[in-house]
Amino acid sequence: MDRNQLTKWLKTPVKMGHKYSLHAVYFCTGCGIIEVPPVITARWDAERFGVIPVATPRQANLFLITGYVSVKTLKAIIRTYEQMPEPKFTVGFGSCPVNGGMYWDSYNTIKHLDKYIPVDGWIAGCMPRPEAIFVAVVHLWTLIDKDMADGYKRYRKDYKAYRANQEQLFGTLEWPPLFPIGESK
């Protein structure tokens, strides 16, 4: 927790800023969201580390995908992810986004979240406990420090592939592509 090391702030303010002010989109995608309230309130208090839920994706830089992702919710997740401003990080929360988890053979849930949107970190567990969220946050810090939390860069670089996957699943999408398809290669 190098929050009050002034030299780091002067050298890399952007990284430090992102590390200690992670505003998470309060978007209940699946069953995991029941773990988030205890994290934000008195018992575990994520605000100590600067993690607070915000109302709109426009104001956020962290996107917690909590629990299984049904095909219908994936549409909303992709739209919300694309509406977030640029340096943004996603964390897959629980085993279902990782590989489908308990619903591995269900016709209605997607199996691998990072086929459709880039994911920077995973938290295993079928509803991991709040402490696991803090482990994920700390892990995200190290990723940010080492510049490995580059999900949004990968999305921009391989947008053609991501878009193709999405269209393969949904057929035509109502919203226009985020980056012009032609030159995103």
């Binding site: 978007f27 709109t56 994706p57 426009r58 549409k75 909303a76 997740i77 739209r79 919300t80 509406q83 640029e86 109502e174 919203w175 226009p176």
Partner: protein, 618 residues
């Protein structure tokens, strides 16, 4: 530059445009613009001169006098300038419309009539031009047929009542002093008894209160503004209704004189105190009614009444600051209400006459110039600092507070906040928010419409940042009324009890904006996205399914609608109903048989004889 030449040009120009109109509409438009341009130049050249021209017609051996002074010049320049801008605007607005020649004839006739009123030196010519103006306004209001006929009828009845009141005043003046020359009258009147002066003031001010839509006599204004063709509504609201203000000034401070008018009437119920309270009521109630309107022009019409209240309040308060504030507000109001009506007309022109605020929206991307005009117009109407509305309202508030009448100041300030709400709803529902499906292909407004909007927006900012320019003229008017002069600096008022310095505010805002723009530049450049790509909890914002600017202040409506029924209009309608039924009854007497008439005469004679025999009064 003699006055009679000016009026001859005005009226002959109007007739000639009608003639040219028969030949070709292009020539008519060009000639119309040339005439109004010539009027502006001629009036501008009259600055500072006090010239008097006397003409003797065989009419009641009363001379018709034309004279100019600072007050006349001030109103004349705004009348002709705004008239020119509205003519330029209506060039393309009236392109497709039928009866274009009639429209231009009337517009130039009204322009000339208003100049006539302002320059007339005696009450007879004043009355003649007043009637010419009222009649041509009636004809133009009912230009669109349909509902406009009813609006025109309502307007003309109330303005006839006003003219009759004025006529009574003139007759009584002529009876006592057998002259109607304003200057000689003002000297003679000062010797009259205060009771007679009170009668005179009340009679004349009823006429001018109707024209200026002061509260109890305001009911003709909303329909007249809404139904008249938009460029004409701009002229109507900008200058025509403010002839009432010219009338107030003429009576209260030129004829009766400042000293006498300020203590007419017993004790607390002084004439100008009652007038001030009428002005305050006129500010508050119409502004809150404006909040409930869903039609753009009705909303602006109710604001026209509300702002009229500020002027009357300023003038009736009788201090040098108050009168200066009132006159300055007349000019400012003229500028921004004309700008607002022109931007509504521009939107109407592009959206095929759509006025309903609930079905408009999101036009900012399609019509940016109209948006800028609307934005500056409403900021002038609210009185945001650096716009001209603020300078005049500041004067009025300062005198109200320092003279120790906080309730009047409270009414005026609450009027401003009511204006903010209703006027932002006007801007938000027309230009911001969701663009309806059917207006996706709206084009920009043509240049001949954009030019007046740009000029007026520039004027709002100019008079807001440098109020000294008009204040110098207004100060001269105040001095001519006998008030002590305010030391007007180039950017406001310098006085020990609180000065106004708009240059400081302007510099502060400019530097503030620059600093914040630099601050904004620190972050990376934002990527532009479509207007409707919004966050709606992961779902697409439904297109045209619902329009969330409908009923914009719904919680507030539920609270204040019960208190804001328009009692006065209902009362007038009931009155009109009674007179109609009464006249129906009377009509039945004339049955058309001669026998009945003879019977009436015989009965009448019999009753006379009977009275003579019984009481022998003669």
């Amino acid at each position: 530059m003699s006055l009679d030449l000016l009026l001859i040009v005005a009226f002959s120009g109007a007739l000639l445009t009608y003639v040219f109109g028969k030949i070709s509409s292009k020539m008519r438009n060009a000639f119309g613009v040339v005439v109004s341009l010539a009027l502006v130049v001629m009036v501008a050249l009259l600055y500072g001169q006090t010239e008097e021209k006397i003409f003797y017609f065989g009419f009641l051996n009363l001379p018709l006098i034309l004279r100019t002074n600072m007050l006349a010049w001030f109103f004349a320049i705004s009348v002709s300038a705004l008239g020119l801008l509205c003519i330029v605007f209506s060039l393309s607005y009236m392109k497709g419309r039928e009866r274009g020649d009639f429209y231009y004839l009337m517009m130039l006739l009204i322009n000339g009539a208003m100049l006539g009123i302002v320059f007339s030196g005696d009450l007879v010519s004043f009355f003649i031009f007043w009637e010419v103006m009222s009649w041509s306004t009636f004809l133009l209001i009912s230009y669109n047929r349909g509902k406009a006929l009813f609006a025109g009828m309502k307007y003309i009845i109330m303005s006839i009542l006003g003219s009759v009141a004025m006529l009574i005043g003139m007759l009584s003046l002529y009876a006592t002093y057998d002259t109607l020359n304003i200057v000689t009258l003002s000297t003679l009147i000062s010797s009259a008894s205060s009771g007679y002066l009170l009668f005179l003031s009340i009679i004349f001010c009823i006429a001018f209160a109707i024209k200026n839509a002061v509260m109890p006599l305001h009911t003709w204004l909303p329909e007249a503004y809404a139904e008249a063709p938009s460029p004409f509504t701009a002229v109507l609201s900008g200058m025509l209704t403010r002839m009432g203000m010219y009338g107030f000034l003429l009576i209260m401070y030129v004829m009766v004189g400042a000293a006498r008018v300020l203590n007419l009437g017993p004790g607390l119920f002084k004439f100008n105190y009652i007038l001030a309270w009428l002005g305050a009521v006129t500010i508050v109630i119409p502004t809150f009614i404006a909040m409930l309107q869903n039609d753009a022009k009705m909303l602006l019409a109710w604001h026209g009444i509300g702002q009229g209240g500020y002027m009357v309040l300023g003038i009736a308060f009788g201090t040098s600051l108050g009168v200066a504030g009132g006159i300055f507000h007349t000019l400012n109001h003229a500028i921004y209400i004309v700008l607002l009506f022109l931007s509504v007309a521009a939107v109407q022109y592009r959206t095929h006459g759509e006025r309903d605020l609930n079905s408009l929206g999101g036009l900012i991307k399609k019509m940016p110039i109209a948006f800028i005009g609307g934005l500056l117009g409403i900021s002038g109407l609210i009185g945001v600092p650096l716009t001209n509305g603020f300078a005049s309202k500041w004067l009025i508030y300062k005198t109200l507070i320092l003279e120790g009448s906080p309730f009047l100041a409270f009414a005026a300030l609450i009027g401003t906040w009511g204006t903010i709400l209703s006027v932002f709803k006007f801007l938000h529902n027309m230009f911001l928010g969701q663009l309806p499906e059917k207006y996706q292909d709206v084009k920009k407004s043509p240049f001949s419409m954009q030019l007046p909007i740009i000029i007026l927006s520039f004027a709002i900012l100019l008079f807001g940042i440098l109020p000294g320019i008009p204040l110098k003229v207004i100060n001269a008017i105040g001095v001519s009324f006998g008030f002590e002069s305010l030391n007007v600096t180039f950017w406001g008022i310098a006085s020990d009890t609180g000065a106004l310095n708009t240059i400081n505010i302007f510099a502060a805002v400019l530097v503030g904006c620059l600093v914040v723009a630099l601050l904004f530049k620190i972050g990376p450049k934002a990527t532009p996205i479509a207007q409707d790509d919004n966050y709606a909890a992961g779902a697409p914002v439904p297109k045209d399914k619902y329009h969330y600017t409908v009923d914009f202040y719904n919680p507030l409506y539920r609270m204040i609608t019960p208190y804001l029924k328009d009692f006065i209009d209902a009362f007038y309608m009931k009155l009109a109903g009674w007179t109609q039924s009464l006249s129906n009854g009377v009509r039945r007497i004339y049955t058309g048989y001669v026998g009945h008439y003879v019977m009436y005469i015989v009965l009448f004679l019999a009753s006379l004889i009977f009275i003579q025999l019984k009481w022998s009064p003669w």
